[in-house]
Amino acid sequence: MSIDTIQKPPIGQPVEQIAEKKPETAEKLVIFAWSGELDKVWPTLILATTGAAMGKETTVFFTFWGLFPLVKNQVRITGENWMQKMLSMMNRGGDEHLKLSKMNFAGAGPAMMNHLAKEHHVASPHELMEVAKEMGVHLIPCQMTMDMMGLKREDLIDGLEEPAGATKALADAQGAITLFI
């Protein structure tokens, strides 16, 4: 680029006015929800519902550990073979059974966290999941992880969109704000 092509502000126009021109805001938000812990699922759902409230087309693509919060709370053991069943035993699904990534203390940590949240009128992950559905957030489970972990569509909550793959997720992410949580 030659120096001559650099645009100069037209004479008489204040420089600040030009500097104020911001890049266009993204119309979409796509979150890759990879984690299954309370302290990561919570911000995922806060950001997703807020994105929808800001008028952004919002998608959450749930993959790997992120799939387990989508398991119905009343479903206990999932999977067909002993490895998949063991996985669900060791890592209970459901948005009301989430563990903390630190200070879990065999469930005492999340119990205290939930107590504090109630005290401060903070919506729980379960409530935010319902809000997200109501606001039209696209909740998409990852098909490959479902197959590998032995999670069937009927093990997962209602209100999700068709399970999809990485291509669909990346296609949705074009031109969007993208977060990997």
Binding site: I46, T50, A53, M54, G55, H121, V122, A123, L128
Partner: protein
């Protein structure tokens, strides 16, 4: 000329992200040019309301504080 508020929201006691979510829902019901007022106690809502108004282009016509209560007035954008 008196200013008419079309809808009033009590968001006192609620934490992020609920004040904005409830406001966004209520704003959907309004006709262009109508005003919505909201009362909140979450100190974070001051910057959240400003940011929401900027990104959604619904003007924030008032943002004030009375004790621990924040008062916001939003105008639904003209399409």
């Amino acid at each position: 000329m008196s200013i008419t508020i079309a809808k009033s929201l009590d968001l006192k006691g609620l934490s992020c992200p609920l004040p904005i979510i409830k406001t966004a829902k209520a704003m959907k019901e309004l006709a262009p040019g109508q005003l919505l007022e909201a009362f909140a106690t979450d100190p974070g809502s001051v910057s959240d309301f400003k940011a929401w108004a900027q990104t959604t282009r619904n003007p924030l016509v008032e943002s004030s504080q009375d004790g621990g209560v924040f008062h916001f007035v939003l105008k639904k954008k003209e399409i």
